[in-house]
Amino acid sequence: MDFNQSADENLFDRARIIGKPHKRIDGALKVTGTAPYAYERNDVVENHLVGYPLGASIAKGRITRMDAAAARNAEGVAAVITALDIDELPRADSNVAKLFGGDLVEHYHQAIAVVVAETLEQARAATSLIEVEYEETPGEFDLDDAWKRLQDRDVINEVGDVDAAFERAEVSIDEIYHTASQSHAMMEPHASIADWCDGKHLTLWTSNQMIAWSKKALATTLELDEADIRLESPFVGGGFGGKLWLRADAVLAALGSRETGRPVKVALPRPFIFNNATHRSGTVQRLRIAANKDGRITAFDHSAISHTLPGGSGEDAVNQTRCFYAGENRRVAHHAIDMNLPEAADMRAPGEASGLAVLEIAMDEMAEKLGLDPVEFRILNDTQVNPEEPHKRYSDRHFVECLQKGSEAFGWRERNKVPGSRREGQWLIGQGVAGAYRGAITMDSGARVRLSQGKLVVETDMTDIGTGSYTIIAQTVAETMGVTMDEVEVRLGNSAYPVSSGSGGQFGAASSTAGVYAACLALQEEIGKRLSIESPRFENGRVVSGDQDLGLFEIEGEELVGEDTLHFGDFQDEIELGTFGAHFVEVAVNAYTGETRLRRMLSVCDAGRILNPITARSQVLGGMVMSIGAALSESLSIDTARGFFANHDLAGYEIAVHADIPEQEVIFLDTLDGASTPLKAKGVGELGICGGAAAVANAMYNATGIRLRDYPLTLDRMLDRLPAI
């Protein structure tokens, strides 16, 4: 089915099930611990061995010698495969560093061996017996050094005359900001069980967001036909972008299985994940904003750098600055600097999370310099078109309403306007606001719906990484086919099913439900043909046409199947599709120690039709929590001498915990975006993390009068500047 123009009024505007709150249909499995995650597939795999990885202990260089004799002779060991035993595996386009093989070391903890044994204890112990010698070569590990060296700033995009605008500017700012490298730190480690016993057909039970991409990457990496690969990933214990790609767990498990002729399972040990797998690159950003005295922005100039292994793209922090606010003159430049840290790649809201963390502080600084309320300043500079290409209108943008509704609900008007002047006991109290923007990407998505033995079974390779896919897909089928939720069975995350959008870039919910809708229409057509009726209606479990009225599950004969893919048409290229929000935060900063505690946080979101307010709210809450971590504590600490992340576990890398999270509130605007999908929905899973960190920073400024521009906003950055007591 082609989606070539904005959706008119349709059945979703009269919905019974879509857009209504429904508890997760996979909830009972998850609360009882019976949802099977990748490493636990004892239901389908027998007689497996366990693999344990060894990582390189240098950041860059070559392996000159590996002695695995002691490991091979250790108790229980079935095989040891070292990087020197096999040639470098071909690299899929989606991987920047190789996953295994050959003497080259591209980053710290790159996998250089796997030990396969009867038990985890045996494999782990034997891994420590492998001796490795390296020839180390110097690497680049310091982003600030790179920033200083970067003289020649080639411009990605310039509109108008930015230099002239700054010369003319009545008010301007020009500041440097830092964001930290961050880890996805999803709770389920990367894990796979591989059965490649015959060296030809590979079955992989894994934890992955993108089934089709990973199947393709596996085919490239292991030089197999895609037809000989099967992937299953029905439950994913969190991803946040970290499981978009094929990673070492899958490759090592597969190699181990081929070598031993038995299924092999590998989970990446937690302290290994931070350097072996991917992360969000830190950034250095310079942001200049120019405005007239009346508060209208005349120019943006945003340049940023991030790190990447050669060939990668880093963290592009300038993109949102191109389109979020009005202003005639604008220039952005992003430089991905080749460095020898582990592989930087996408993490939740790649680009925007880091870019808005900075842009939204800068907006606060500008508002102050202009003597304007930060909410009013943002409203004044709203745009309904892409300011770079004014002929492109936003399909549906209610950013102003987010700010207004948020102000009202939060009590923004009553806030203290003089920074550092509200004190409660030993706490300085402050409030801050930030805008949120994230693109509303759509991806072609397919599904199959079968009318089978008293129920509708929907199959798609879409994944549920905690996002609620199972539930919203069931809602889509129930709505379109006129049945109850109980009459729908959802099967996900299997390469035997039609290729979907997968989960990433907040495109999953909107795209996959559109694909499921298309498959339902295909099934309706099949049903019409079987019954020889024209344009039947599907309601209350019945198929109705003219004077015909038959129970859907009473249709006789062979199973009926509808399969289709929703293709999103080019018309979307000519409009701007986005999601918008506003965050409001109240913090308390300890007047003596500088410790910051969040008191409350409100986010107002404009993201088209909210398919399920329960699961969507949880997505936004989770994004807010992650933005609080990004603001206050999350930072991969780089050992710039040896080139690795030193705090590579969950004690050293500090994500927000229960005690860090105060009262949270989410408000969804009641909006519809027919240009996005037939369901008029857009993604919301990444909007919550966009801008939230800046709202915290701005609230801290309001509390203390100290402007912090470097994340995370830890107390050591303020301690010598706190207001006198």
């Binding site: 009882t32 490493y39 389920e188 969190g238 937690r270 905690g466 915990v657 005690a659």
Partner: protein
């Protein structure tokens, strides 16, 4: 060299496997295990009780929280052979799909999870939190160390802070715990 040789000799002579009897969810299991096997791996790898999750294997995330003789413990931080005759309760013993514990139901009612991986540990800790408050065991945020402890949001958050949730369901987990506390009161 001498120390290595002594170590090797010691290692060869040492017993590397032991028998242990554990009572898990009311059922007695006799196992012979590698001494290095954690309680978590005994559950997951030897008894197919995979409800307890391995998030870090270092006591940093709480996904493996189980009860040993009524007290919550990170099962990854203790060896199985240390628990001869101990009574262990895992999420499978807390409740199943057909007979949910009130805390499990409350987690569903309040959407107190997303990916579900930390959830069994959160539920075990949530139950333990209420028990610990009821038993008058103080925490870091308890203001009065003697006398009954107020069942405040602050107490719940503090006591739950050893259980990480990267999906960020904390606000909903708090609501779920409140619901159960209210039902009990």
């Amino acid at each position: 060299m001498t120390s290595t040789t002594t170590f090797e000799k010691h290692r060869e002579s040492a017993q590397t496997r032991s028998s242990v009897a554990l009572t898990i969810n009311g059922q007695r299991h006799e196992l012979t295990l590698d001494n290095r096997t954690t309680l978590l791996d005994a559950l997951r790898e030897h008894l197919n009780l995979t409800g307890s999750k391995k998030g870090c294997d270092h006591g940093q995330c709480g996904a493996c929280t189980v009860f040993i003789d009524g007290q919550r413990v990170n099962a990854c931080l203790t060896l199985a052979v240390m628990h001869q005759d101990d009574e262990i309760t895992t999420i499978e013993g807390v409740g199943g799909v057909e007979h949910l514990d009130p805390m499990q139901q409350a987690f569903i009612d309040h959407d107190a999870f997303q990916c579900g991986y930390c959830t069994p540990g959160q539920i075990c800790s949530a139950k333990a939190t209420l028990e610990e408050i009821r038993a008058g065991i103080p925490s870091h945020v308890t203001k009065e160390l003697t006398g009954p402890i107020e069942l405040s949001d602050e107490e719940i958050r503090e006591r739950m802070s050893g259980n990480l949730c990267r999906c960020g369901a904390y606000a909903n987990i708090l609501e779920a715990i409140r619901q159960v506390a209210k039902e009990r009161a």
